[in-house]
Symmetry: C2
Subunit: 309 residues, 2 copies
């Protein structure tokens, strides 16, 4: 049995939950961050443990956090086998009153029997790249987000309306968890040659890592457009296109690389499972990534093989 | 292959490192906390990942932390396979200037081929209990420790001399890692029926959990004496014996239960590996734990089966 391990936290997205006093969605982000990293290697997360650092324990807040975590874990077929809560007093800070906390998790992934790890080594020029749409900022780039919102909207930005929702609710949008889709695709025989989980580093940074094993590059001419609120944040902060695409997922939470002939089927199978998927580009010989961006200042961005990350 | 997982942090012991600006010993505590939990189940830690939450990154401090972690991991035959550093700004607090941080880890353990999990189910009246000595407070009970020191010695208590060392150095004493000893004992054929890693909950709280599967109890009449500085802390804080033995290890970091006939050999084998071990008591029928304590107010403490933990 091949096993893997992944650990991650949800960073400063927690502040949004503290601002809104909504605690039952963060579990989804925590599951997504670690399970989708393992999924990108073709591993299925079986066990997960979490560590919650709090200043002073508030049972109701902890209940809400754990309820959200259990729900998300159940949907993703993951068993939460362990957990630690550490009461750390002044070592933990946060927004306003209420319990402050930092939250991270580690997961064990296994390679399902008969399936190989996904390591990008079979990627070839001509393969297709499929983009899975994201719902929001997932759990990366929140330090910049919070600065933009405070400067652009004001100190109590989370309460201001964006549409029918407040800005706080928009930014708290829970992460879509891709790992069950990846497992289902692979178990039903689809061959995924490479998978990039789009976290810090953005589309190019994370894809570059996947392309390294094959020495190839990519042309992404048709990625998902950023969600409207992402463009609004970009506009509010005057964030240059290249920076936005380096720090945020800009509407694309995961990329899958597959043979050209298989790509339509994979995108269709993802669609049937409720994931918006589109063929967004192709693999090219030679390194580097060309990205047709779709933010406020849409442009062709060329990442050289050296600074792709 | 049976796999297990354990996650834990080192809590507020970090403040001692921040006070002294000594950062290369905490890795040993981090390894001990998780690897010794797995060892108590008979698992050998193979992989470990760590998550370091910092306020603002200081490369020198991170280097020292990671150097200590790698050293300790190497000694314990553990590979550090993953790590995350999250820069969380105001969400992290700590003592004085310098980088503040919280640190946790998760480990994967495997059951070595041909060996069973250690679950306490074969424990019988008449078995012996072997105590492994600890060097210091390991990584539990530091909130109370810090309160005692501040009240009893003063705000800058870490700089005051205890013996040739400062109080800070004494309390920072790195944890002894027991997992390599447990692995070596089991691999050389010694049968360990139950293992208690003495963390929060103390001797009785942690032993009670191990005894649950067999419904038995224990009489511990000859545990290791607390280290002299532990008694001094107890005296400074006026900490009652029962409380000291519930929050601190009081000189006993791990208990091993084995057949009476095997106990001498096990203790001798541990001694040869450099671990101070003594037969400290025996298993009795019926629940409950009798502990002859050896702190400032030495006494017989009787824990009922219900409130052992």
């Amino acid at each position: 049995v091949k096993i893997g391990m992944s650990s991650d936290g949800i960073g400063t997205k927690i502040e949004i939950a503290e601002r809104l006093r909504i605690y039952d969605t963060l579990g989804r982000d925590l599951i997504a961050m670690t399970a989708d990293d393992l999924a990108a290697n073709g591993m299925e997360t079986v066990n997960k443990t979490n560590i919650l650092d709090v200043d002073r324990l508030d049972p109701d807040t902890v209940d809400a956090l754990m309820r959200g975590l259990q729900e998300a874990a159940a949907e993703a077929n993951i068993v939460i086998t362990g957990g630690e809560i550490a009461e750390l007093g002044e070592r933990i800070g946060g927004y306003g009153k209420g319990m402050h906390f930092n939250w991270c998790a580690a997961g064990i992934g296994i390679l399902p029997e008969g399936l190989e790890a996904v390591d990008g080594r079979d990627i070839r020029a001509g393969d297709s790249v499929i983009a899975l749409k994201s719902r929001g900022f997932r759990s990366n780039g929140f330090s910049l987000l919070r600065r933009v919102m405070e400067k652009g909207v004001g100190k109590a930005w989370h309460r201001e309306k964006y549409d029918e929702r407040s800005w706080g609710e928009v930014l708290l949008t829970p992460s879509l968890i891709y790992s069950p889709l990846i497992a289902s695709l692979r178990r039903s025989g689809h061959v995924l040659k490479g998978i990039a989980h789009i976290t810090g580093g953005g589309i190019a940074g994370n894809l570059a890592r996947v392309l390294k094993n094959s020495g190839s590059g990519a042309e992404l001419t048709d990625v998902h457009a950023p969600l409207p609120f992402m463009r609004e944040v970009q506009r509010l902060g005057g964030i240059p296109e290249t920076r936005a695409y380096r720090l945020w997922n800009m509407g694309n939470g995961m990329l899958i690389i597959a043979e050209k002939e298989a790509a339509e089927d994979i995108a269709a199978a993802a669609g049937e499972k409720g994931y918006a998927a589109r063929i967004c580009g192709r693999i090219r010989a030679g390194g580097g990534i060309l990205l047709q961006s779709r933010g406020e200042d849409a442009q062709e961005i060329e990442y050289s093989p050296d600074n792709g990350a």
